[in-house]
């Protein structure tokens, strides 16, 4: 027990402040502090040290932390890949499954004997599915349907409006892999948001695709111009945000022709 001349140690004060001291000792300490200015001041000094350190730690590092969106999207894509490529937990097989397994073993033996010609197995992953798909002017809808996060004009217009963000290199590589283009020249493509963040598009791999800079006149730079035009129209209230998102995701070339009143890109 702490009496007037038996003061708590720094360690006990810190343990109490951190909620690590047993309840009965906390109560005794509280009573002691009520009557002891010296220990109250000491407790405040230690709290001051905690405060100084936390401010130092946070203020130094927080401004340098990049937004979580892109790394979250990359993680999500990696996890989806892991989830789809690994089989579920083992369960006891049914009789028909055993029969099928037997049939499979027989087929395998026949293949080995040269009786059957093995066919390519069905593609399991999207990257395989789209191995031959080279996006020229449109993304593969199944890979890049477009994902929007913002739903209201106020979220994309004004002081806190979303700016277009640089896509991290690792995420770009992942997009190229998904499109079956791991060896593509990254300088020839813009890994672009289908729905640009300036129009409320999400940091999601399902909203990203490799768009050629030069393979066609309907290229990434032309789409950038449309994005700027749509952003202006949405913020002026001339076009609903949802309409802009749907039009740019469904057929951005038609949207370009509509909003620029032209059949060809304007240079």
């Amino acid at each position: 027990m702490w009496f007037q001349d038996t003061h708590p140690s720094d360690r006990e004060l810190i343990l109490a402040a951190d909620g690590e001291l047993p309840a009965r000792r906390v109560e005794r300490l509280r009573k002691h502090l009520t009557g002891c200015w010296g220990c109250r001041v000491r407790a405040q000094e230690l709290e001051g040290a905690v405060s100084e350190f936390v401010h130092l730690h946070r203020r130094t590092l927080d401004p340098h932390l990049p937004p979580a969106g892109a790394s979250r999207a990359l993680l999500k894509a990696e996890l989806d890949q892991l989830a789809s490529s690994q089989s579920p937990a083992w369960r006891p097989p049914h009789v028909w499954q055993l029969w099928l397994a037997g049939a499979a073993v027989s087929a395998f033996i026949l293949v080995l004997a040269g009786v059957l010609v093995p066919h390519r197995s069905a593609p399991r992953r999207q990257a395989t599915l789209y191995a031959s798909f080279v996006p020229i002017s449109f993304p593969a809808t199944e890979l890049t349907p477009g994902v929007a996060r913002a739903k209201t004009r106020s979220q994309v217009c004004g002081v806190n409006e979303e700016k277009n963000r640089e896509v991290p290199a690792a995420l770009k590589r992942r997009v190229f892999e998904l499109y079956g283009m791991p060896g593509a020249d990254p300088k020839a493509y813009e890994v672009d948001y289908l729905i640009t963040p300036a129009l409320g598009g999400a940091d999601d791999i399902a909203n990203l695709w490799p768009q050629s800079y030069s393979a066609t006149m309907w290229n990434a730079r032309v789409k950038d111009a449309l994005e700027d035009r749509l952003h202006d129209l949405v913020c002026r209230g001339d076009v609903e945000l949802v309409t802009a998102q749907q039009e740019i995701a469904a057929d951005w070339i038609s949207a370009y022709k509509k909003y620029f009143h032209t059949e060809r890109p304007i240079n």
Binding site: D10, E20, V50, E52, L75, L82, A83, F138, Q245, R264
Partner: protein
């Protein structure tokens, strides 16, 4: 007749394919891990960059932590205190990268920062600013002079870990955590009040 080149019609997306959603649908385990990422990402990133690693490398480590967490949970392993588990994996990865020499000091310019970088001063007037700045410099010097394990304890506590979690991450006893925090805060208090 349109003058649009034929290749432009290579693939037309299905109209209405746009997905407007706040969270994309995913398997429950994926959702759980992404939710933990949302809770812990900044804390883990601050922790691993405090090892002197670049933010870019820190982000790689955080990705690895959550991929490992996914595999851990997928194998049905213990769900006890996943926060401490994530910090421990991050700690080990950061040590490994640092031992490989992937620290900021050996690189030219980059995105990395340490406690030794200048802290922006937000005090209201020049006198307070000068006094605040001197105090911060003294605290900074005290933090820099701490033994590595004491600094780790302090940072982990600042990131909200309880004593038993810190003990688990650093593989030390509860008593050692308590002693370390006492030692560090006493030094920091002395530096701040000097």
């Amino acid at each position: 007749m349109s003058d649009q080149p034929p290749e432009t019609a290579l693939r037309l997306p299905v109209p209405g394919a746009i997905e407007t959603r706040s969270e994309p649908p995913a398997a429950p385990l994926v959702e759980e891990v992404v939710s933990l990422f949302d809770q812990l990402r900044d804390r883990l990133l601050r922790y691993v960059t405090s090892f002197g690693l670049r933010v870019h490398d820190g982000e790689d480590i955080v990705q690895e932590v959550f991929l490992a967490l996914f595999r851990h949970l997928q194998l049905g392993r213990s769900r006890k205190n996943l926060r401490a588990w994530a910090f421990r994996v991050a700690h080990n990865q950061a040590l490994k990268r640092r031992s490989q020499g992937r620290v900021r000091e050996q690189l030219t310019e980059d995105d990395g920062v340490t406690l030794a970088d200048l802290v922006p001063d937000t005090s209201p007037n020049p006198e307070d600013q000068a006094a605040g700045s001197q105090r911060r410099q003294r605290v900074l010097a005290a933090v820099t002079a701490l033994p590595e394990q004491d600094r780790r304890c302090l940072i982990l506590r600042a990131e909200g870990l309880r004593y038993r979690e810190i003990a688990e991450v650093l593989d030390i006893s509860l008593g050692a955590v308590s002693l370390s925090l006492e030692r560090s805060l006493t030094r920091l208090a002395r530096a701040a009040e000097r």
